[in-house]
């Protein structure tokens, strides 16, 4: 064996060992959840009882619906607020771009836990206006998903030359509204999808706001039910992970050649750039 | 052990093969570099020239064959024990080190003490004309300056062989010419045996003592630039080195008929029958003549010499004339063509 071959063999060994060990660390808890949630503690064999509760337990079912509706509402409000604003800033008020980025990324440095402390009074107002419904969380969740959605949309808008497209459309007689809805938006479809998917995944996994404001979303109920039926909680946990995983993997396929960058909306940082621009990965953790 | 400055060593590549699966990057390359000379390996991308250089550097290993430096077989010696200085295409400077520290890097590994290291680095930076940029980082230097530092870094360790891997290809035209002359000057000054890999024939012809033209993993011809240009051994070399007109020709009794004229062929290897004549632009003479068989398409004036594009029937041709010979020629002028019979190469069609 030449020294070069020896070095290559060493590298291969290193890679296999590291990837297998790390892979096991990530796989074992997931498999344990599957095993735990289907185990029959009172008899032998397997049981799907805990999984059946996902639809039959009214509390759990209700919370799943609440969380899904919240996810949709959050996506809608996020898109309505963010997309026209970001396009408009690029087109007409570029000097707002830097402050806009600063504020959109700010929730990465101000933990959700801090926001919820400061939002108590705002939530009282929301309850006064909309009643005591979990859907007021929509307003808070948009803040939560802001950095991730911003990055996805920013990447999409940077890939096209918005001002030139707009000038071309306007020279053909389009108004500003037409420029945004008929020219720019169709060109950033992947980015809209990324922003929406990442938002859904975050909302479905959110616990901090809902729990401290006492609304029964999916994660809150999972936590609540654990005392009565741990298997049910584990089954619901695994289901919610799988759902989010499917969403994010579809997203990485959709955004295709960019190798899942959007999923990991996560900061392709060039060597040594400031982490302030990177995501604090687990927004809801 | 180490050669004194100014005395290069001999480098031999013997029967080198490098196969990647079924592709043969090198298919029996034989090449000898005489002590102190600069040999350029020239060829299109994928011809194996870079593979040859990387094998000589120890960054790649041959499937079979030997590498000899100063008579010593170094085929299995790892790259870091070969004592060769290499300049890469681009971006090879360590970005976290200043120009000075980059140049000192190899000396530091050789445990040269700090003072001598600094002195040597300054001497090298001076040699490449960058003494005043010693404390800059790569990102603060232009592309040309970075390559000069890379050259200084490669030479600082007094390498037995200097390897240049298309060091100019990432630079813009003006800097390229300037740095080309600079590298040649430095190489002559230190006298290190040098292998230079390029796809740019102008670069190869201008810098090298001898040029090796490669194709499909094999050396086609190794000769001085003048010889290569004047007497290419085959159509590939003729085509790759310098601009060539390919003209249908008829050979009979030692004479070649082409473009409506007839000249004597000097090349004995041409067999009778139909062939293709390879004509350098300067071998094609042009004279205004209303009854001529060709017509000027356009004139590209570029200083001392100018190029003429011509059409004779279906045939497109290029001719090169000195500025004064241009009078009376413009687009549309009908002309009569002549052929400078000396060094006329005719190949099979």
């Amino acid at each position: 064996m030449t020294p070069r071959q020896a070095a290559r063999a060493r590298l291969t060994t290193f890679r296999v060992v590291v990837l297998v060990l790390v892979g096991l660390f990530f796989l074992v808890p997931l498999l344990s959840m599957l095993d735990f949630s289907t185990r029959n503690f009172t008899g032998t064999g397997r049981t799907g009882a805990a999984w059946a509760l996902l639809v039959t337990d009214p509390l759990l079912r209700g919370s799943i619906i609440t969380s899904l509706v919240l996810a949709v509402l959050t996506v809608v409000l996020m898109l309505v607020l963010l997309v026209p604003t970001m396009i408009w800033v690029r087109l007409r008020v570029p000097w707002v771009a830097r402050p806009l980025e600063f504020f959109c990324l700010l929730p990465l440095t101000v933990p959700p836990l801090v926001l919820v402390v400061g939002l108590k009074n705002v939530v009282l107002w929301l309850n006064f206006l909309f009643g005591d419904t979990p859907y007021v969380l929509t307003f808070l969740y948009v803040v939560l998903v802001l950095p991730y959605a911003y990055r996805a949309l920013d990447a999409g808008l940077s890939a096209i030359d918005v001002p030139t497209l707009a000038e071309a459309a306007r020279s053909l007689g389009a108004g500003w509204a037409t420029v945004i809805t008929r020219v720019v938006v169709p060109n950033i479809r992947t980015a809209l999808l990324s922003a929406s998917f990442i938002s859904i995944a975050l909302v479905l996994g959110e616990f901090t706001f809902a729990s401290l404001l006492n609304y029964n979303t999916l994660q809150v109920v999972i936590n609540l039910q654990s005392k009565a039926n741990a298997q049910e909680s584990v089954a619901a946990s695994l289901a919610s992970i799988l759902f989010a995983a499917v969403l994010l993997i579809i997203l990485s396929v959709v955004s295709g050649g960019r190798r899942g960058r959007a999923v990991a909306s996560a900061a392709p940082l060039p060597t040594g750039t400031a982490p302030a621009a990177a995501p604090a990965g687990t927004a809801g953790s | 052990m180490k050669p004194e400055r100014g005395t290069g060593v001999e480098v031999r590549l013997e029967e080198l093969h490098r196969h990647y699966g079924s592709t043969r990057a090198l298919d029996g390359l034989d090449l000898t570099l005489r002590p102190g000379e600069l040999v350029a390996l020239l060829g299109p991308s994928g011809c194996g020239k870079t593979t040859a250089l990387r094998i000589l550097a120890g960054l790649d290993e041959p499937t079979s064959g030997r590498v000899l430096v100063d008579g010593r077989d170094v085929t299995t010696v790892p790259a870091n024990k070969r004592d060769m200085g290499m300049v890469f295409q681009a971006y090879s400077l360590f970005p976290h080190l200043t120009a000075q520290a980059n140049v000192e890097f190899g000396l530091k590994l050789r445990k040269v003490d700090r003072a001598r290291r600094a002195a040597r680095a300054r001497e090298m930076l001076d040699l490449v004309g960058l003494a005043d940029q010693a404390s800059r980082y790569a990102t603060e230097l232009s592309g040309g300056q970075q390559q000069r530092v890379a050259l200084a870094r490669a030479l600082a360790i007094e390498p037995s062989v200097l390897l240049l891997d298309e060091p100019l290809s990432a630079l813009d035209a003006k800097v390229r010419t300037q740095l080309r002359d600079e590298i040649r000057r430095v190489q002559l000054e230190v006298g290190t045996t040098t292998l230079f890999v390029t796809h740019d024939q102008e670069e190869a012809l201008a810098m090298a003592d001898r040029v090796g033209v490669m194709s499909k993993g094999v050396l086609q011809q190794l000769d001085t630039p003048q010889e290569l240009y004047a007497h290419p051994v085959n159509a590939f070399v003729a085509d790759f080195v310098g601009l060539m007109n390919r003209v249908p020709a008829e050979v009979a009794d030692g004479r070649v008929r082409l473009l409506g004229t007839e000249v004597a062929t000097l090349d004995g290897s041409v067999t009778d029958g139909a062939g293709v004549a390879l004509l350098r632009p300067e071998q094609l003479t042009v004279r205004p003549d209303p009854d001529g068989t060709a017509e000027v398409v356009d004139v590209m004036f570029s200083g001392a010499v100018s190029r003429l594009r011509l059409r004779a029937g279906e045939q497109e041709l290029v001719s090169q004339l000195s500025g004064s010979a241009l009078s009376g020629l413009s687009a549309g002028t009908r002309v009569r063509l002549g052929v400078d019979a000396e060094r006329l190469l005719v190949t099979a069609p």
Binding site: F25, Q219, A267, T271, A280, T282 | -
Partner: protein, 285 residues
């Protein structure tokens, strides 16, 4: 004059709706926290801040810092090794795509679901703990270590490692093969390459990633909330206590002070990183 400034400012009105939203849901709560921390019963007061020095609160801060630092280090080292194992493979290979997608999912996978994943694995009746007790004679099923600080370190690593992979991959991609070859050419052994070139080049990105991971763990709430039901060993759980039981340590605004403490720590980390990069590395543009 008036007309010209009107022309210049009118396009800026387009960002007004989003601006108002940010004001209410991001800026107001942040400012509420900042001001509230310095008040009690509507009057300026340093009492809440002073209470941060209270024995168990101070211990919680130390615990928070320790858990964050340890998980940042574990996540950083393991994540960097895993990223290196991935990056030494084919750049467009299946492995790379798979790992980036999976890490994108796992880095977002925090909170309640993650807590239950580990309860199902290593909890009182967890799959792995039961197996280990039966086969290796450990006593994991009768231990509550998972629900304390050690448990937090293990569970946090689950989202810290993938986050590190995502953040560190681009830094590794930035290491050009020419540098390794140039080093070898100048006489460097593999070890010398890492000592003089590889590690110094990666150090700023690595440190930056560590600080990001630290902030990520420090701000995490949901995982700890689901895992630790007794007591408040870390600062985020103190905030839960302060929010859910109206008056803690006899003070209404104590949650504000705790939230301020979190902002200060996270901000200090981010500023520290920025300064570090600026001071040490002129070579990073």
């Amino acid at each position: 004059m008036a007309r010209r400034s009107g022309v210049r400012l009118r396009p800026a009105l387009g960002v007004l709706p989003f601006g108002v939203y940010l004001l209410i849901f991001l800026i107001v709560p942040t400012v509420t926290v900042l001001i509230g921390a310095f008040a009690e019963n509507g009057r300026p007061s340093a009492a809440n801040l002073a209470a941060l020095a209270d024995g168990s609160v101070a211990t919680a801060l130390l615990n928070s810092v320790a858990v964050s630092a340890v998980t940042a280090l574990i996540g950083g080292v393991v994540g960097a090794l895993a990223a290196y194992a991935v990056v030494t493979g084919r750049p467009d290979g299946v492995l790379r795509r798979l790992v980036t997608s999976v890490c994108g999912v796992l880095a977002q996978f925090g909170g309640v679901t993650l807590a239950f994943a580990f309860i199902a694995t290593l909890g009182i009746s967890g799959v792995v703990s039961t197996w280990l007790d039966a086969h290796l004679g450990t006593s994991l099923t009768s231990s509550v270590w998972l629900f304390g600080l050690k448990g937090l370190v293990l569970v946090y690593s689950y989202f810290q490692i993938p986050l590190m992979v995502i953040v560190f991959l681009p830094a590794l991609d930035g290491i050009r093969p020419q540098w390794r070859e140039a080093a070898a050419n100048l006489g460097a052994t593999g070890w010398q390459y890492w000592r003089y070139v590889g590690l110094p080049l990666l150090a700023p990105a690595f440190l930056g990633a560590l600080l990001l991971l630290f902030a990520n763990a420090f701000a995490a709430y949901a995982t700890a909330a689901a895992l630790v039901s007794q007591g408040s060993p870390i600062i985020p759980l103190w905030i839960r206590t302060a929010l859910t039981s109206e008056v803690v340590l006899g003070r209404q605004n104590f949650a504000y002070a705790l939230a301020l403490e979190m902002i200060v720590v996270v901000a200090a980390v981010m500023i520290g990183y920025t300064l570090l990069v600026r001071r040490t590395a002129r070579w990073i543009r």
